[in-house]
């Protein structure tokens, strides 16, 4: 199956968006890159969002070494034209690295621009919230802090404007009046701090600090190259590893003129949907656990094991499947296995339906979930919610329908539907996930039917990647839209020059403070859990440039020394 560009879309871009005198490159898969002046970024953002209801996928920047930086704003136009993605590129000088902030126009760009600011040192002019998000509080200032009570306490003199202050309070005040939930809290396995300000048991303000999982993954992939990089990409997140693997390979395939056999497409779809099933079952279990229903946790995790069995039989591993290759997959699914798995899925579907209606109807579960963590459609749009969180706010976005990552989601090939819900709260999110689980069951059985009947190639050798090619890969991960941006190196055909990952949790975590306000303290873990937050996903960011790297690692050494000193005391 080959990908193609729609001529209508080229017309559309030329007529509606493409202003004269700007450089315009159509890319594969209906992606279009437009070069603009940096001053126009915010105006265009306003135009796109108002006129075309475009959605900002990601704002990021690429270091072009001597030539300066390139700021990239990637927009999704799928509501106007099918599968159209526009990449706005603006070159910024090294000497004066500033550009107008898009976060002024739409709040959802805040995290992305904070990331650009803290990691690349660019200056988004007019950004409403300039604090650090992923790096430690005092970076890159000298570490003069002592660690007390899981919170950094600053000595006087080390404070600067950029320093991380929860809710922008003076540090002494915040230390007294905020409850830090994290960095370790049994409600969420991973490390993060959510600062909540409470009156009685009511949350009046909340702020989130992440970055404890910052692993520099994008840099790792840039070093490893295309073929080895897929294994790193899979390990961005162990829960939605199939989505990451698939998006990585589709993005890399978009760089060159790729051809992928049909059977491989079906296997990919099958795995991504199985992955979604296990992830949603896991989520239902975790939420049941968070609201204290151990039985619900056990029952859903028991069912999840059956999904894991199928995955393990197909790929040989339960978590990281390792079968994604550019141009196909590395393992075939035998016909017997497909037929056997089909029977399991049928039984599973019945049990899932039975059990999960019980979960959705349980009176105490309902009383714990209804009205908790409200998020209106307008808030979801401005905050840039994706995936089940957005769909539970009655906003119908689903990459599988709007911007199919590969043709298997075509309604002519496989029948399925997008689930939305108008509850706009945690209960709605539960319902969306539960129903999606059953939809996934349907897709999986259709894929298995195809695999049980046919045989064929599963892998075609990839071609060389042309120098300087660009691509965007999109896919619907269990938690929402997952986006990869890749740019091939000019010098080496094996290495990408830049790779950027925008995970769904990155967006959904950003709006957690919005949802927390007004809720009960007891509901904080539920609200946090309701977005299915995955910090391993969120904190993968890395845009560091080599020049400043040395200074930063020095700071790290100081931090290490400091912590050693502390532990000796």
């Amino acid at each position: 199956m080959k990908f193609s560009a729609d001529p209508n879309i080229v017309d559309f871009v030329k007529k509606e968006i493409y202003a004269d005198g700007l450089e315009y490159t159509p890319l594969r898969e209906n992606r279009v890159a437009i070069k603009v002046k940096p001053e126009e970024l915010d105006k265009l953002a306003e135009l796109f969002m108002k006129k075309f209801e475009a959605r900002l996928i990601h704002a990021t920047a690429v270091d072009l070494e001597v030539q300066g930086f390139e700021v990239l704003n990637i927009y999704d136009f799928s509501k106007v034209k099918e599968r159209l993605v526009v990449i706005l590129k603006a070159k910024v000088d090294k000497d004066n690295p500033s550009f107008p902030s898009v976060a002024k126009v739409t709040w959802q760009a805040t995290w992305a621009e904070r990331e650009i600011k803290e990691l690349l040192g660019l200056n988004p002019v007019g950004i409403p919230d300039p604090r650090h998000q992923f790096l430690p509080h005092e970076w890159p200032n000298a570490v003069e802090s002592g660690l007390t009570g899981g919170q950094y306490k600053f000595e006087s003199g080390s404070q600067t404007k950029e320093m991380y202050l929860p809710l922008k309070m003076p540090i002494e005040e915040s230390y007294q009046s905020l409850i830090p939930i994290g960095p370790y809290h049994p409600g969420v396995i991973e490390g993060q701090i959510v600062y909540v300000k409470v009156e009685g048991e009511q949350v009046v303000a909340a702020d989130i600090k992440t970055g404890f999982h910052h692993r520099g993954i994008m840099k790792l992939i840039e070093r490893r190259g295309y073929n080895k990089g897929v294994f790193v990409a899979e390990r961005v997140c162990g829960i939605c590893s199939a989505a990451h693997g698939l998006t990585y390979v589709t993005c890399a395939e978009n760089l060159y003129d790729a051809e992928v056999p049909d059977r491989a497409m079906y296997i990919r779809t099958l795995l991504v949907e199985l992955n979604r099933m296990h992830s949603h079952l896991l989520w239902v279990g975790v939420v049941a656990d968070v609201i204290g229903w151990k039985t619900g946790f056990m029952l859903t995790w028991g069912l999840r094991e059956r999904v894991m069995d199928i995955i393990e039989a197909i790929t040989g591993n339960r978590v990281n499947y390792g079968i994604w290759r550019m141009g196909g997959v590395s393992r075939d699914v035998s016909q017997e296995l497909a037929a056997k798995a089909r029977r399991t899925v049928d039984a599973l579907k019945e049990e899932c339906g039975k059990l999960l209606t019980l979960v959705a109807e349980h009176p105490v579960v309902k009383s714990r979930l209804i009205g908790v963590g409200p998020l209106t459609k307008a808030q979801a749009f401005d905050g840039g919610a994706v995936g089940p969180v957005a769909r539970a706010s009655n906003w119908k976005i689903d990459v599988r329908a709007d911007n199919p990552p590969h043709a298997m989601y075509d309604p002519k090939v496989i029948s399925w539907e997008v689930i939305t819900d108008d509850n706009c709260d945690t209960y709605g999110r539960t319902l969306v996930r539960v129903k999606e689980l059953l939809v996934s069951c349907g897709i999986v059985s259709q894929c298995l039917d195809y695999l049980a009947k046919t045989t064929g190639e599963v892998r075609i050798k990839p071609k060389t990647v042309p120098a300087g090619a660009e691509a965007v890969g999109l896919n619907e991960a269990p938690r929402g839209e997952l986006a990869y941006y890749m740019r091939a190196s000019e010098k080496d055909s094996n290495l990408p020059h830049a790779i950027r990952i925008r995970t769904p949790s990155y967006r959904n975590n950003a709006i957690i403070p919005l949802m927390l306000v007004g809720s009960n303290l007891a509901d904080v873990p539920v609200v946090m859990g309701s977005t299915d937050q995955c910090l391993a996903c969120t904190d993968r960011v890395e845009i560091i440039d080599e020049k400043t790297g040395s200074r930063k690692s020095l700071t790290w050494d100081m931090l290490v020394n400091l912590s050693r000193r502390l532990s000796k005391q």
Binding site: R224, L299, G302, D309, G322
Partner: protein, 195 residues
């Protein structure tokens, strides 16, 4: 209330048939010991006879778990399981099909130095006759010769064979420096390490 009764029914039906496996008990009268599917990617194993030390696994390893240590007359090819991601990429890349993922998965070791945490193959290295630096494993050269002889045209077989004998024992650098050349253009067929 009816929902609670439904759930009660569900949990009561669970009572009679727990889904727990008997792991780690090896004696399993009623239920299975563990779930092991056919294609499980467990601990990799290397066939010492088949491995020729060609370094293909080293080049494809994403986690840098495979490493090659050359020390006097021995090449050690090693997979350090503490860094292995069990992705089976090396199994795919191995030209001699020496690496295989087994379905063993129980490895718990107390020390980094534990021998069971490493999959090691030792190979004889060939040393250059002039400068004394090791340049390729003996098996690798032998296998290369064998494959070359299999595939090459019958007409040039003898010349190529004599060529091979001629360069045998010199590292690529010394070969170039000392003017040991080929009589035939065999670069397409013989690929010596570093050449």
């Amino acid at each position: 209330m009816s929902t609670e009764i439904k759930i009660l029914k569900q949990v009561l039906s669970n009572y009679s048939k727990p889904m727990t496996l008997n792991y780690p008990s090896a004696v399993s009268p009623d239920r299975k010991y563990s779930q092991i599917p056919a294609g499980l990617r467990g601990i990799p194993e290397r066939d010492n006879d088949k491995c020729i030390g060609c370094r293909a696994c080293y080049f494809v390893c994403s986690g840098r778990a495979t490493s090659i240590y050359d020390s006097d007359a021995k090449r050690k090819v090693e997979i350090f399981l503490f860094r292995c991601t069990f992705c089976a990429h090396c199994q795919e890349a191995c030209p001699e099909e020496a690496i295989k993922m087994t379905d063993k998965f129980e490895i718990a070791v107390a020390k980094r130095e534990d021998p069971s945490a490493r999959v090691v193959t030792e190979l004889d290295l060939l040393k250059c006759k002039i400068c004394g630096t090791p340049y390729a494993s003996k098996k690798f050269v032998d296998r290369a010769y064998e494959r070359l002889m299999e595939k090459i045209d019958q007409k040039v077989k003898e010349t190529v064979s004599s060529d091979f004998k001629k360069v045998d024992g010199y590292c690529p650098d010394c070969r170039r420096a000392n003017g040991v050349g080929f009589d035939t253009h065999t670069k397409k067929h013989v690929w010596l390490e570093g050449a």
